[in-house]
């Protein structure tokens, strides 16, 4: 492995400066292994946390038999699923049926690789010392950084989609058609609200994005809150979590796309789902809440970052469970209307307002005036569009058979 190729293919990391030897390879493998193990344990605890929290909110006790407070319930469920019979439906496309669970699991793992989970960003640029080698507390920091998250979330669609199709049964198929439409739609809103962050931090690298938000300069207020709200909503839809869980609406679709799955393959889907929840929360923390940034309240330098990251992560995990316990499921047309008619125009408009604010600052214009002019132009355009829609609707009502000729 040449020194020139190593750093850029596997991401920019001070670890690789000065050549890649055995120690560097071992440290990288260690980071990968730790991330993998932590993520698996986190999923186990997350499932327990969600069940416990939901049951508290619903005045139930929830799992309480396996281990203290039922904390080993997920482990027990996992072992049970392992030993269950693995059924493959006769009508299924066997190869794709077996492939699908892995297609949703692998992207879920990969996304976590770009999340900086710790490190001192107030002055140290996120570097920590590991066995005498300087490195980042993230598996990799590729030059495309956050685009990897978008790429993986678009690959994750395949898992759901192919699972539904290959089952050879109508409910999973309906669920997967819904899922792919939903996930593709909300990916646009996800990407556009992300663009606001990229505009402000000027880099795709997650490490750079976090470094820009050093201590209190979080993107949450730098981008004026709205992009984060949009990102949170779009992420919930992307994760197929309530209130956007039409993909597995039990009342309508039996179990959704994984109706025909059993045993370990079902467990893999379950794992991927909860892992996605955790990684997406981590991404929101990284993008908008400054990742491991925060005032140092410990005496050990590296601990503060990890603690801040964990606290912020828990906030979002709690919020996701809270949403599930509170909100009823959306109707399909409401879901599409929200995505296409509200979130996408809003995030695009917000991006333009932020850009006008920045450009005005660069050119020395009055910033408030630039924003107001921008808003006025957009209001005028929206008004024109509304008028055109109204005219078209009236024409249609007058002459329902009329074409466009």
């Amino acid at each position: 492995m040449s020194a020139a190729l190593g750093p850029t293919v596997f991401g920019i990391d001070p670890l690789y400066v000065g050549g890649v030897g055995l120690a560097e390879v071992l440290i990288t493998l260690l980071k990968v292994g730790v991330a993998f193990a932590v993520l698996l344990v986190a999923v186990m605890l997350m499932i327990w946390f969600e069940r416990k929290l939901i049951s508290d909110m619903q005045n139930r006790i929830g799992p309480n038999l396996a281990g203290p407070f039922g904390i080993f319930q997920t482990l027990a469920d996992g072992i049970k699923l392992f030993f269950k019979e693995d059924l493959i439906p006769e009508q299924s496309d066997r190869l794709v049926f077996k492939l699908a669970p892995y297609l949703s699991l692998v992207p879920a793992f990969l996304v976590f690789a770009v999340v900086p989970v710790g490190g001192d960003f107030s002055g140290g640029n996120g570097r920590v010392s590991l066995f005498g080698h300087e490195t980042f507390l993230q598996v990799s920091d590729p030059p495309v950084g956050i685009l990897l998250v978008l790429a993986m979330s678009s690959v994750a669609v395949y898992g759901v989609m192919l699972a539904g199709w290959s089952s050879g049964s109508k409910y999973p198929l309906l669920a997967s058609v819904r899922a792919s439409a939903q996930m593709v739609s909300y990916e646009a809103a996800l990407g556009l609200s992300l663009a606001a962050v990229l505009l402000k931090s000027g880099s795709l690298s997650t490490n750079q994005i976090v470094a820009e938000q050093s201590v209190w300069n979080w993107n949450l207020w730098v981008t004026w809150v709205v992009p984060m709200v949009i990102f949170l909503i779009a992420a919930t839809a992307e994760l197929n979590r309530p209130p956007f869980d039409l993909v597995e609406a039990e009342q309508e679709l039996v179990g959704g796309f994984h109706t025909e799955y059993s045993s370990i393959r079902f467990a893999l889907f379950f794992l991927a789902e909860f892992m996605n929840t955790i990684t997406m929360s981590a991404i929101i923390v990284t993008l908008f809440l400054g990742g491991p940034n925060g005032p140092d309240f410990t005496t050990v330098g590296w601990l503060s970052g990890l603690l801040w990251f964990f606290i912020k992560l828990m906030l979002f995990l709690f919020a996701f469970v809270w949403l599930r316990a509170t909100l009823p499921r959306f109707r399909y047309d409401q879901l599409m209307d929200l995505g296409w008619k509200l979130l996408i125009p809003l995030s695009l408009g917000w991006l333009l307002v932020l850009a006008s604010y920045d450009v005005a600052g660069d050119r020395g214009w009055n910033r408030a005036a630039a924003v107001i002019v921008m808003l006025a132009i957009m209001a005028a355009l929206a008004g024109l569009l509304a008028l055109a829609l109204r005219a078209a609707r009236q024409r249609r009502e007058l002459d329902p058979q009329g074409g466009f000729a």
Partner: protein, 185 residues
Amino acid sequence: METAVFIVCAAIVLAGALGVVLARNPVHAALSLVGTLFGMAVLFLNLEAHFLAAVQIIVYAGAIVVLFLFVIMLLGVDRLEDLSVEPITGQRVLAAIVGLGTFVLAVIFILSSSIGPSDSGPQILTRDITDQYSNLRQIADVLFTDYVYAFEATAALLTISVVGAVVMSRRMARSDETQDTKVDD
């Protein structure tokens, strides 16, 4: 290292491409296409064109093939095709001729291009790069200065085609159809 990655990816790309053509089931063909696109994304990475690699996956694998699959599933055409009939007469002969012609042109282009074997991919793409992120910056610079008209024209073309598709596919409720539904009620 670079050559090894190229050989593996080229094999994946070619296998995927063959799969697209030879698979009887449209869904399998689409999946082979995804394999090809992934192989090409890794080839881009090998050339240190990180941004193109990411866009390759996000746009082609993530959106376009998903839409292919969506349409296949929605229309229920995921059955084995009858290959004995040619939908358009002479289609296959023409396809073979055009394919061969494209291949010959590509070979001529590669042989006659000024890029010699000494300038392999990374050197060309990173020749003027000073800092590590300018891969993206370079693309943005070129796209919004030299090629800004082409870029805007493409954007307009895509928007027009979307609007056109909506107009074409929008079926007006015809009076006989509305009467039919009334009878059903």
